[in-house]
Amino acid sequence: MSTERSLEIRGISKRYGETVAVRDLSFDVNAGELFGFVGRNGAGKTTTMRIVLGVLAPDAGEVRWDGRPLDLAARRRIGYMPEERGLYPKMRLAEQLAYLGELHGMSGSEARASAVRWLDRFGLRDRANDDLQALSLGNQQRVQLAAALVFGPDVLVLDEPFAGLDPVAVDVMAGVLRERADAGVPVIFSSHELELVERICDRVGIIDRGKMVACGTVDELRAGGQERRWIDVPGAPDDWEAGVPGVRLVQIDGSRRLFELDPGVDDQELLREALNTGPVREFERVEPTLGEIFRTVIEEAAA
């Protein structure tokens, strides 16, 4: 498998009647990359994923894979976990996974072997001949992921794969996604668990009202934002920082204060001013979390 291949979303738009679901959206997911897709409910994540899968036709734009427009043959090689989970409730696990494997182009024997392998991986081997409906919801979710993985997909598109999972299952799921990405598969998934996205994703796309408002590594997303510092100067007067331009007090925690620095402001100047007022017990650079970046970006987009 070439590691140069990438999934390119090029200027896609989709409207439902008066509602614009996705507006001129473009981004890439490269081979070996775990791409987190975040946004509020109704922002257009599911619509985008459905367009990638060809389940929905875009009004404009196209999806390309490996330099070519994504056709049916290429789409059959995408592993998909829809937001609305769905499998046959009255079909045996192994049989169901093997069937989906064959639908995606595997031979019968390959599909059966792969079905057993993935059930084994998710600890469901002894349930192989049970109907799906006999499983707990968490286990059904594992089968759903196995359904997306069973045929060895070239691309993975997962809509909210972590929703409803217990912490152990989250770790298993995250491990599998990382492993697939490391094997050279572009993985795109949506989630509201921003901490998790920050922890495991290589790159993040933030979508708001159908538009991509930020896209890049978490560090890149931080770069444009405000710098923050925690400073603890126990004996200082209340407005000791007033002499430093471009600095705003954000939060007070006992004698500790959190300041936000405008771009270009030298934090050493703030530190010197602090030292002038008294002994500095703490001086900490604070990285904004993805959650904070997300809120900032969404607010800016709204303004």
Binding site: R50, L72, P82, S107, G108
Partner: protein, 396 residues
């Protein structure tokens, strides 16, 4: 592709339509509905045929015993009975008391005592009317012979009034009518059952949301085609099993001369089933794709079911006169042809052009419906939730 197709060693790649069809067949064959339904249908058909053969069994010969002087009547009685169309077997009776006991026991039907010119018939409860006539005529001839008439004169004096039958009814016709009716009901049940199965299957995939995964893999038209083919094959298998049971029953009970139960007729019925199934299955799947919950299936398919129920009623209305204008016109119309034409063909001779026209019309309708169903299914398949309006699904 073909080479791999022929490789049955488990590494073959089937076209997606056939994969879908295979899943349908496997899942359905495993279901209790299929196994139970097949057993019930086969039992009903066999019981019907056995009952028909028992009805036909009423024409076993009437056993008539002659004692004493009446024995002289045996030859002329047999000949007369034969002319009257009643089968009899005659025997000589020596012990009248024992013969009466036989009549009471039901091993002898009629005992004739007395002389040849004045015989008396002894029966258990009633004497078959033709037997009574034959016996009276035989005694009359004996009296005329005693009076000195020559056999030729007696024959001319006693000749029966010739009867010309314009539309003869035989027991076989009644059996055939019953067989046609049974066939019509069977076809009607099969069409309803398998049409419904396709509709339920379409909605199941929407209701369980697996539709989205499937449509991300294969085009809607292939999914629909696979489903229709799979369910159709299951229906065909069931009808073949029932048909085979019918043929075996016919062979064993020896009522094979009933045209509706011949091999060609059964093959014809299977063809009509297939045409009817394709017609109703595509129509059902189109309307079923508009809804997302199993509870809504029946109301969604109601506009189509009405045609099926009308077909059932028309079958009863047209059976008494299978060549009349009502039967003829309705059996040409695609929604009714699968049942009415099959029933008409079983119960009477239908002109070839009518059969051909009915088949051509339904094939054309199936092509049109397939186009319509494919369009509606494609547009409605992903709209899960509220019922999709017909025109929205049609326009897309």
């Amino acid at each position: 592709m073909n080479a791999r197709f022929l490789n049955l060693g488990g590494t073959r790649h089937l076209p997606t339509t056939l994969l879908v069809a295979r899943r349908e067949v496997r899942m359905r064959l495993r279901s209790r509905v299929f196994v139970g339904g097949t057993v019930v249908m086969a039992v009903l058909v066999v019981v019907g045929i056995v009952a028909a053969s028992l009805l036909a069994g009423k024409s076993t010969p009437v056993r008539v015993g002659f004692s004493g002087g009446s024995q002289a009547l045996e030859r002329s009685f047999t000949a007369t009975a034969d002319a009257l169309g009643v089968a009899v077997t005659v025997s000589d009776i020596a012990d009248v008391t024992a013969a009466k006991a036989q009549i009471t026991a039901g091993t002898l039907d009629v005992l004739v005592i007395g002389s040849s010119t004045a015989p008396t018939a002894v029966v258990k409860d009633a004497v078959p009317s033709n037997v009574e006539s034959a016996l009276s005529l035989a005694a009359e001839a004996a009296r005329l012979s005693d009076a000195g008439l020559s056999p030729a004169a007696i024959k001319s004096a006693m000749s029966l009034v010739p009867v010309q039958l314009l539309a003869p009814t035989t027991p076989k016709d009644t059996q055939n009518l019953l067989a046609s009716l049974a066939l019509g009901i069977l076809l009607w049940i099969a069409l309803g059952q398998y049409g419904n199965m396709v509709a339920q299957g379409v909605v199941e995939e929407k209701a369980t949301r697996i539709m989205e995964i499937l449509l991300a893999t294969i085009p809607p038209s292939r999914l629909l085609a696979g489903k229709v083919i799979g369910v159709g094959l299951v229906g065909l298998l069931q009808l073949t099993i029932v048909g085979a049971a019918a043929l075996v029953a016919v062979h064993v009970t020896n009522v094979a001369s009933i045209p509706a139960l011949g091999v060609t007729a059964i093959l014809g019925d299977i063809l009509w089933f297939l045409l009817g199934f394709l017609f109703y299955a595509t129509a059902y799947s189109a309307v079923a794709s508009l809804v997302s919950r199993q509870e809504e299936v029946q109301s969604a398919i109601a506009p189509i079911s009405i045609f099926q129920i009308a077909g059932y009623l028309l079958m009863y209305a047209s059976l008494p006169n299978a060549s009349g204008p009502l039967a003829t016109v309705c059996s040409l119309l695609p929604p009714f042809a699968p049942i009415l034409m099959a029933v008409r063909m079983a119960s009477s001779d239908v002109p070839f052009w009518q059969v051909g026209l009915a088949a051509a019309l339904i094939v054309v309708s199936i092509v049109g419906l397939t186009w319509l169903a494919g369009r509606m299914y494609t547009n409605a398949a992903m709209r899960i939730g509220a019922r999709v309006r017909f025109m929205d699904a049609f326009r897309g």
